[in-house]
């Protein structure tokens, strides 16, 4: 168990959940007269803004806490929706086979063939940028990868004796999928989802960089780094702290996912 990763994730989670009590300021409160206040340990910094303030004079610590909330919420919602969607579609395709399989996998092929960042841009220009739209786009573009993996595993599980036995024993399709297939594909789903958390956070930050991420005033880590890049040379703290937060959380998730992968050792996921 990588304890370091677990600790980082716990700390980030606690910060996000307790943000309203921990944050010294309203994260959206602008103060144009105190823009780019440096962190307290630098010249010109003060304990009023422990980590300094951003280009509109908002308290960076408060935004970091609240931004983590949104970033991690987006990540968790996207990843769990993808997990459900991908598992369901993958199991159905793998187990039912035939035209259901063919149809579902062709849809998955299309999703995988689309250059996801570019398509996300087009979709945002249709729907407009909003928290919900960003989540919907990410989910829509990401389920297919997992569905492929789950389908592959389901195909293997289907051949096993205990599944055949259950079928002979009169267990219905739903029963077999729930009792026999699902527990066996869960390992892969958990590993893929853990690794997915980081990907989603980074994806949201790339959207913010291109100007179509979760819109203000809602703070997200990705959006904060993107906003701070204009002043990255002079007021480096504006983009550094959210950047470090992203790196820490993504790294923790990736290490955790790697560890889980080795623990579960689902061979199908290696390639």
């Amino acid at each position: 168990m990588p304890w370091g990763s677990a600790l980082i994730l716990l700390a980030a989670l606690a910060g996000a959940l307790l943000a309203p009590w921990l944050a010294p300021y309203d994260p959206d409160q602008v103060d144009v007269l105190h823009r780019f206040t440096p962190p307290f340990w630098l010249d010109g910094g003060s304990v009023e803004h422990l980590l300094g303030s951003d280009d509109l004079g908002r308290d960076l610590l408060s935004r970091l806490l609240f931004g983590g909330r949104v970033s991690m919420l987006v990540a968790v919602v996207c990843v769990s929706s993808d997990a459900m969607l991908g598992t369901l579609i993958g199991m159905l395709a793998g187990y039912l086979g035939g035209w259901v399989d063919a149809a579902l996998m062709r849809v998955a092929d299309v999703m995988l063939a689309l250059p996801y960042l570019l398509i996300a841009l087009v979709v945002v220009s249709v729907l407009g940028a909003s928290l919900v739209n960003v989540v919907v786009i990410i989910v829509a573009l990401r389920w297919a990868g997992l569905a492929r993996i789950v389908r592959g595993e389901t195909l293997g599980i289907k051949q096993r004796d205990y599944v055949a036995l259950a079928r002979v024993g009169g267990v219905g399709r739903a029963g077999i999928l729930l009792r026999h297939v699902l527990p066996n594909v869960m390992n892969s789903v958990i590993v893929v989802s853990t690794l997915g958390v980081g990907t989603v956070i980074l994806f949201e930050s790339a959207l913010s960089f291109l100007g179509v991420g979760v819109p203000p005033p809602t703070a997200t880590w990705g959006g904060m780094v993107a906003d701070g890049r204009g002043s990255i040379g002079s007021a480096w703290w504006v983009s550094l702290f959210p950047g470090l937060a992203i790196t820490a959380v993504c790294l923790a998730c990736n290490l955790l996912g790697d560890w889980l992968r080795e623990v579960f050792d689902p061979k199908s996921m290696r390639a």
Partner: protein, 497 residues
């Protein structure tokens, strides 16, 4: 030994001709369509216009200067314009400028192909003819601001050269009569121009200018710091402050522009009464915002509070009695209460992603007077579409950008134009009245005596800030640059160290 060397160097310096900076690099956000076809000027006017000069130059708002023509005159009815051509002008291929070239550029069939230029398209430019070395243009109906909006935007190009090489050939090796000639163009990367030794006007002081396309603003600033770029072009915004931090000069450049609030429910002349019909509500939205603080802190003085639409406060004929509304929270609250919203109000607020900072600041100032604005950011094209094509339903407030250069901007109050910011019989009458005045001097009187007071009484839209379209970042190799052509950069006035 050292002494001798130094003397040698000093001697060499004495003997050298007045130094001309070899080469400067200009980092810009995009190169546009990367075609050199002058008809496409609405897209990459900054690059093409440096190669080719117009007949008359727009040096500043309401400040026209002779360029390829030594002047111009207009007939009484405003339908004929004469341009006596300058003698001795040579295109970059060595051929002299003749009336044929001007007649070719403005041949009615060619004008139809211009991007934009709607006022002289569709048969309004009837014919163009030469009378000796003077070119005469005939219109069907008069076009106010013809010089500012059209003539000064169109570079003259050489008929013989174009006919010989075709559009393809011209695009590969464009030729004009401007201060710089074409050297090299690597698509998506850079364009190299060199000073034209036989330029008729002020001689360029830089030997070579390389435009490099750098889409990301933070990268452009980094290049200015490393010396890889000597000049950057930035749209007005946060990077203005960044320039100051590195002791780089920020030189405002471009047409006078405004950020303004427009109201979706007021864009159609046939409208049902709504909340924003009340001038007090519109004024309250302005009074609630400390625009001075925003202008100073966020734009570092490159912007100032705006007073009235259409006519910017820096116009030569502006009347200072129409000062920008102050920051007055109490008055804003009172106006809202008087208008029937003592508890404040709530509305959807639509802005472009590129104007994010300003939008967020406005929302936060409004919050303090009890206004809750739900911010909805659109990409710039979606926003223009919502505004120009009226695709929104409801009484949203939009934050948009527009020019504020007098008669040429009057189109914003004409309900028939797609960029109408406010549609009402009153403003339509004003617009028609103004357009009927052909004589430029009388136009100015009308703007001053009639339009300004009318705008003040109607307060049809709520202008927020005014500024010039962009800011040039000047690096250490640039001594000064303070004279421009509003439709090209005016590179001949760029003074290197």
């Amino acid at each position: 030994m050292r002494r001798i060397l130094m003397t040698g160097a000093a001697l060499a310096a004495l003997a050298a001709p007045p130094a001309m900076a070899q080469s400067l690099v200009f980092a810009i956000n995009n190169l546009g369509a990367e075609t050199w076809w002058p008809q496409d000027i609405s897209q990459n006017k900054y690059i093409t216009s440096n190669l080719g000069d117009p007949l008359i130059r727009l040096a500043a708002p309401y400040s026209l200067e002779p360029a390829l023509a030594t002047g111009w005159s207009m007939s009484e009815d405003g339908l004929s314009y004469s341009f006596p051509l300058r003698a001795g002008v040579v295109f970059h291929d060595g051929s002299p400028l003749t009336p044929d070239d001007v007649m070719f550029t403005f041949a009615p069939a060619n004008v139809e192909k211009f991007v934009g230029f709607s006022a002289i398209k569709g048969g309004n430019l009837v014919s163009i003819e030469a009378q000796g070395s003077t070119v005469v243009m005939h219109l069907k109906s008069p076009v106010p601001a013809l010089m500012d909006n059209y003539i000064s935007r169109a570079s003259i190009w050489p008929k013989a050269y174009v006919e010989r090489f075709g559009i393809e050939g011209f695009n590969k090796r464009p030729v004009g009569a401007g201060p710089f000639r074409f050297v090299e163009h690597v698509k998506g990367q850079h364009v190299k121009l060199a000073a034209w030794e036989r330029y008729y006007g002020d001689q360029p002081q830089v030997k070579e200018i390389t435009f490099r396309v750098i889409p990301e603003a933070a990268t452009r600033i980094a290049m200015l710091r490393t010396g890889e770029a000597d000049i950057t072009y930035n749209e007005i915004g946060a990077t203005t402050g960044e320039l100051k931090k590195y002791a780089m000069r920020g030189q405002p450049y471009g047409q006078p522009a405004q950020a303004a609030l427009i109201f979706n429910s007021l864009l159609n002349p046939e409208r049902s009464p709504g909340r924003f019909d009340d001038i007090r509500v519109r004024q309250a939205l302005t009074l609630a915002v400390d625009r001075k603080v925003i202008a100073d802190a966020v734009y570092f003085g490159a912007a100032t509070p705006a007073a009235l639409p259409v006519v910017g406060t820096r116009m030569p004929f502006y009347d200072t009695k129409f000062a920008p509304l102050p920051h007055d929270v109490a008055r804003a609250k009172k106006l809202l209460a008087d208008a029937g919203y003592p508890q404040g109000m709530q509305f959807d607020f639509v802005a472009a992603t590129t104007n994010k900072d300003l939008a967020v600041l406005l929302v936060s100032f409004w919050q303090r007077v009890g206004i809750k604005a739900n911010l909805n950011l659109l990409d710039p094209v979606s926003l223009s579409r919502a505004w120009w094509q009226r695709t929104l339903q409801g009484d949203q407030v939009m934050l948009v950008g527009g020019l504020a250069n007098g008669m040429a901007s009057a189109v914003y109050i004409n309900s028939k134009s797609q960029v109408a910011m406010y549609a009402s019989p009153a403003t339509d009458t004003l617009f028609a009245q103004g357009m009927a005045i052909i004589d430029p001097a009388k136009q100015i009187t009308w703007l001053h005596d009639t339009l300004l007071p009318a705008m003040n009484d109607l307060y049809p839209i709520a202008p927020v800030l005014e500024y010039q379209e962009g800011v040039l970042g000047l690096g250490p190799k640039v001594k000064s640059w303070d004279r421009f052509d509003l439709h090209s950069f005016g590179l001949q006035w760029l003074v290197p160290k």
